[in-house]
């Protein structure tokens, strides 16, 4: 299985069409093409962090600055960011658009990803964070746009889970 170049392009097009101009991210395999596209795009600013929780703060700063932005992270990075999500985003009503690579779920061959995969949805539910699964490249653009709209209207972090079906060929 390899990361889908075409579907990564569909996700990136969705990010662009939503008006997102600033992306904070921690590199991960499924996000490789997405990050390359962001890096090569003169109209996009990409900030690569050392640990994902930083990206919650950076996204909050970008939001205060009025810049439409998104976070690109692996689900394990989402799990590592919980205090930032709770005690910055939820506490201060800061919207976040989190595009999360859902590793360790259906079809996962690598044992080390599996616990993170199994616990991502229950943690999202536990935090009361709205989320959707992105499976179809034809729909992911609309899902990203709607994620941004809903994050801004609800003043809440929202998550779009990028599944294996979407991210791998």
């Amino acid at each position: 299985m390899t990361v889908s170049r075409d579907n990564s392009l569909a996700v990136y097009k969705g990010i662009k069409d939503a008006g997102i101009q600033y992306v904070s991210a921690l590199p991960e395999t499924w996000l490789v093409y997405l990050l390359q596209l962001a890096e090569d795009d003169p109209d996009m600013t990409l900030v690569e962090v050392a640990k994902e929780e930083e990206a919650i703060g950076i996204a909050a700063g970008a939001y205060f600055a009025g810049r439409p932005n998104a976070l690109l992270l692996q689900n394990h990075g989402f799990l590592a960011s919980i205090n930032g999500i709770v005690s910055l985003a939820l506490l201060y009503r800061v919207p976040l658009v989190m595009l999360i690579a859902l590793r360790g779920h259906w079809g996962e061959p690598y044992p080390w990803h599996t616990q993170g995969g199994i616990h991502t949805e229950p943690v999202l539910r536990g935090l009361g964070l709205p989320f959707e699964y992105a499976r179809d490249p034809a729909k992911v653009g609309r899902q990203i746009k709607e994620a941004l709209t809903f994050a801004n209207s609800s003043l809440s972090p929202v998550a779009l889970l990028l599944t294996r079906e979407l991210m791998e060929d």
Binding site: Y22, S24, E54, A60, A65, N83, R93
Partner: protein, 193 residues
């Protein structure tokens, strides 16, 4: 040197800068001098004040951003120093008040007590340019003046006493602070030609 004296000396210079503080004593001491709409107090999420500052500074190149950080918070986000060093927005000044103590959460000594951990050395090692270590209000103000003049991201580590205010509380809800801070930025942007 007391952090409150540093903040008091700096206060007049903060009138048109975006200021992000960490929780507890640091936030309270700034607030007690008089809240301004350009102040944001991060009363939790320790470590992320500098990350908020980075997001602000990168997206608002015409504004000047000041982060008031502390040793306990910086120690929770050491990787953030490397991210700051990598992107180093010239309009960002990172003040780290090092009191060697987790003062606002019980006063336990932090790793920086007695010089065990050197935050200025860590910031330099992370690649942050223009890192200064100060121990007097005069030197703090001189370093701050230089940082505000310089077109380089600056980090000032200020060794301060582990003392804070005798009271905590603000006449402002936390989300209200975020809403007003954002509105201030938006209005500044709109009023700019």
């Amino acid at each position: 040197m007391k952090r409150a004296d540093c903040i008091k000396a700096l206060y007049p210079e903060l009138e048109d800068r975006l200021v992000v503080t960490i929780m507890g004593a640091c936030a309270q001491e700034l607030y007690d001098l008089g809240h301004r709409e350009n102040f944001f107090y991060l009363e939790h999420a320790m470590g992320l004040a500098s990350s908020i500052g980075l997001g602000l500074a990168m997206n608002l190149p015409d504004e000047n951003v000041v982060v008031m950080d502390g040793d306990g918070s910086v120690l929770m986000n050491l990787g953030g120093l490397a991210t700051l060093a990598r992107y180093r927005p010239p309009n960002l000044t990172h003040l780290i008040f090092d009191n060697g103590s987790l003062l606002s959460t019980g006063g336990f000594v932090s790793h920086t007590t007695s010089g065990v951990t050197d935050l200025a050395a860590i910031a330099r090692g992370a690649g942050c340019p223009n890192v200064t270590l100060v121990a007097s209000v005069y030197d703090f103000m001189a370093a701050a003046a230089e940082a505000f003049e310089n077109k380089v991201m600056s980090t000032i580590v200020a060794k301060v006493e582990a003392v804070g205010p005798d009271h905590y509380g603000m006449d402002m809800k936390l989300p209200e602070n975020a809403f007003r801070f954002q509105r201030y930025i938006e209005e500044r942007r709109r009023s700019r030609p």
